[in-house]
Amino acid sequence: MSEDSITAVLMPKWGLSMREGVLVDWLVDEGAEIGVGDEIMEVETDKIASAVEAADAGILRRRVAAAGETYPVRALLGVLAPEAVSDDEIDAYIAAYELPADAGDDEDAASQYEFVDTAAGRLRYARRGDDGPALVLVHGFGGDLDNWLFNIDVLAQQARVFALDLPGHGQSSKQLGDPSLAGLAGELQAFLDALEIDRAHLVGHSMGAAVAARLACDAPGRVQSLALISAAGLGPEINADYIDGFVDAESRRELKPVLLNLFADSELVSRGMVDDLLKYKRIDGVHEALQQLAASLFADGRQQNLLAAQIAELSIPTLVIWGTEDRVIPPAHAQNAAVARIEQIDGAGHMVQMEQASRVNALILEHVLG
């Protein structure tokens, strides 16, 4: 057997700023037969904790890394190989493994965020992947482009992926020109213009899905397809306590219980996630921007923009993805999207693209690539 049949299990890189992670625990024993997509270990960063799914199939011949220890991005954590590979060959592979020099490099991370000046102000975005169709990821209310940290790299293997921070969000400018849904859709269009993207597949999450759908209605020529995840805009109900709680929370103690609404698995809400969101909320202008958006889009605790009928009239292929345990927007709204392909994902909450990343990635790629 040659080394070619040996596959490395590496510390993943989630998001552009991740430099290291803690291997919290192994979820499989040495000798176990692993399939693609099986959860093989728990990893925690300063921002998030999650199970890591196997990218390759094989037998886990060796756990190189110890539970509880911290490792740099792309460090060798384990080795997959068929039974025919000898222990000596595996030892040699481990001994020869070298950490890539640029793994988790600071400069590298900074250079992968870009900024573009549009009519809507200065917008931050990440651009990944060189070939394939243009795919634009639009986050939800109070989110940012890092909401796609488990998706962007996988999607970029087969598409040119752009993820932006909407105005008032992330590191984009905090002034909102027009806090209406049409205003946000216009700003998304300005982003496409600035990057000279004529037509794109739009993938939106929550409020971002409504923004994407609104743009499809206003400028159907710019939109090749829609993927609407835990979407706003398909029904009147929304968890008003979540919206108000998110806007008003001023401390860790107030914000954490609000964020628990986002996930089916509450363990995913780490201290780092709460702290990062507080840091965002404390920037000048953010509170006002969130208040304006909430007042415009979710006045009186109801969604003010219902697009299901309009979407049905568009001849744009539409995919709707929903976690069955969404506590922010009812999964039943999926049924209102008449002509769409609807995929319900069991055991996932509102942030389904994070909780069931590989399933969502596969659905998006299938939808986009046909």
């Binding site: 401390s251 201290r271 840091k279 920037i283």
Partner: protein, 335 residues
């Protein structure tokens, strides 16, 4: 966008942004321009350690180099604050507060109370604190407990650049007198700091590190010593939670209680002298509020009850070290 910034540059940026945002913000102190009258930056040192460097070129006469008389200019800053300005006065070293303390504790701290809530005193007094700078007994003290003792004063002591910028902006916007303590050995310490203006609220401690075995309470430079200690103890399987108080008045006792309810062990670290220190205060409050949760006697790690020595060897021994903290945690773990 966030960049890596030193605490010194973060403080400078906070002053710059607040002066740009609010024309009532002025900055005054000894040598804060450092070359007043010279238009160029060459002569403008911007304070003894350069914290205010560059601000004079941008904001001109709203930076005032004062005579070497703390009672005069601290009094002037407090008076100006009652008349519509938001002065930031630099007291260089907190050790110098003796000569202007009447203005601070008996005037500024009392106005809101004595005028039935009608008077506001939005003044920020920045001052360097702490030892380890080879600056001897009169420029090295951690006098935070003295100002924390006074009702009517708010007291801030950041441990990193991110907190320093947000807490200083909060201090300037706050309508009460704030004593903003800057540890001189943290000026070069860097962390991620957003370019935009932001605030960090008073009275919210930061959980720097989570752990189930022992709670270490600290502020300022001691947060870093506590982190070193926690790192060393983690290798032995002892997981420490570190609570960075960030503001000493108001103080976030709830976060300490919550943590001790989980860990059952309390270690309070303070660079101040031990008697009537922040460490003593937190320990006393916790003994009352969380006595039933404590599995061992709380430990205090402080400087000794002596002036700060000038001998570098003795000064290094004087400041609480990671080893001192490790020993204290071990005491709480002993069966």
């Amino acid at each position: 966008m966030a960049r890596n910034l030193s605490m010194k540059d973060a403080i400078n940026e906070a002053l710059d942004q607040e002066m740009a945002r609010d024309p009532t913000v002025i900055v005054m102190g000894e040598d804060i321009v450092g070359g007043s009258g010279s238009p160029g930056e060459d002569d403008a040192w911007g304070g003894v350690l350069g914290v205010t460097k560059g601000l004079y070129a941008k904001h001109g006469d709203r930076l005032i180099d004062t005579p070497l008389s703390e009672s005069a200019y601290i009094g002037a800053a407090i008076g100006a604050s009652t008349c519509g300005l938001r002065p930031v006065a630099e007291l260089m070293f907190l050790d110098f507060m003796g000569v202007c303390f009447d203005q601070i504790f008996n005037q500024a701290a009392k106005f809101r109370y004595m005028f039935g809530g009608k008077a506001e005193t939005p003044v920020t007094i920045r001052a360097m604190v702490g030892a380890g700078f080879r600056a001897a007994a009169q420029h090295s003290q951690m006098l935070t407990p003295i100002v924390t003792h006074i009702p009517g004063l708010k007291v801030v002591c950041p441990s990193n650049a991110y907190d320093a910028k947000g807490l200083l902006i909060q201090s300037i916007r706050d309508n009460d007198p704030v004593i903003f303590c800057e540890h001189k050995n943290l000026y070069a310490h860097e962390s991620d700091v957003p370019e935009e203006s932001y605030t960090v609220p008073f009275g919210e401690a930061n959980i720097v590190r989570e752990g189930a075995d022992a709670t270490i309470v600290a502020y300022g430079l001691m947060v870093h010593r506590a982190s070193e200690a926690a790192e060393a103890l983690a290798k032995e399987g002892i997981q420490c939670e570190i609570v960075d108080l960030r503001t000493l008045s108001p103080i976030d006792i709830d976060s300490v209680v919550e943590s001790v309810e989980n860990t059952g062990r309390l270690i309070c670290v303070d660079e101040a002298n031990p008697r009537c220190s922040i460490a003593a205060d937190v320990t006393a409050t916790l003994s009352q509020e969380a006595f039933g949760s404590l599995k061992a006697a709380p430990q205090l790690v402080t400087a000794p009850h002596t002036p700060v020595p000038f001998s570098p060897a003795l000064e290094d021994l004087y400041i609480p070290s990671a080893e001192h903290i490790v020993d204290a945690v071990r005491k709480t773990m002993a069966p």
